[in-house]
Symmetry: C2
Subunit: 180 residues, 2 copies
């Protein structure tokens, strides 16, 4: 059974074709629709695990004394990946989301009205900036992006817009509360 991060790594290598572990890291780091930090301490051991399990084939690259390897998804790796993505979407997968702003917004009641307004204004600005960055890299990615990667961008953009609309609603609620 693959974890989401393992599956994503397999998927990236499958789509990109043979590449190194570092390329996978870079992919995660630069993708705005992925939430993984992809620290070295996460990626390298993960890759080794997948090689050990036979999901990745590792071919040595000549690079001095320090080993480097070109990774490629094996047949059984593809099977494992299909077993991860394939089954009918479960309720668990459908409901599994996270939003750090929402987590904090739950407790806005503990702030003074002033600080709350300030927080909400900050949040709105940060979200706007976030949206700008996504739309920018979406536009920049352009033609070389995979069709489904492009779809993930749209997901992020829709999500960000929904969060912005929600923050505006929250600001109105907050303002109304202070008036009333």
């Amino acid at each position: 059974m693959l974890s989401d991060l393992e599956a994503a790594a397999l998927g990236v290598i499958w789509k990109q074709g043979p590449c190194t572990a570092y390329a996978v890291r870079k992919h995660f780091r630069e993708s705005p629709s992925s939430h993984w930090s992809a620290s070295a301490g996460a990626i390298y051991p993960l890759i080794h695990r997948l090689v050990e399990r036979g999901y990745l084939a590792s071919a040595d690259l000549p690079r001095g004394r320090r080993p480097s390897a070109s990774l490629q998804v094996t047949k059984s790796g593809r099977a494992a990946f299909r077993a991860w993505i394939g089954p009918p979407v479960s309720a668990h997968v459908a409901s599994q989301t996270f939003d750090a702003l929402r987590t904090r917004a739950l407790f806005l009641g503990v702030l003074t009205p002033q600080r709350r307004e300030r927080w909400l204004a900050d949040a709105e600005n940060a979200l706007r900036e976030h949206r700008r960055r996504i739309e920018e890299s979406h536009a920049a990615g352009g033609a070389d992006e995979d069709e489904w990667f492009e779809l993930a961008y749209r997901s992020s953009i829709r999500e960000t817009r929904a969060r912005l609309a929600w923050i505006r609603e929250a600001r109105e609620l907050s303002a109304a509360r202070d008036r009333g």
Copy 2:
């Protein structure tokens, strides 16, 4: 420095007033806008940590030989909580989201058109069901909910609607691809 889960636990105890560790667990388990499983192995050690650090005061409850405690946020606990939620929303907090469907959708390209259609149809159904459940418990919660907890519901609802609209877009894309 508090983790998000620690802060959420503190926040819940602060809002609810003195309560037991189990009440916190129950809160997480039943809230549709929280993504924490709140397993026993996570919550009890976490509570003990917060007591040790002086963020929670623990008063023994008379309950046979097995100890139970009523928890209350201390002054320094409130300070720690404010330090968590208070600072201007960082880019990191604004951009930190997760969507298990999006993670999978990135790799729909590896499925056959048939399986892809099937996956998307499943996803739409699962999302619809998810939306139904949220809206239901939102309606049921009603008057006794905290104003800001209610706002978190709205966040979840908006999020789910955005995801549904996105899945529909994906289905159209997928269908168009197969025709063309």
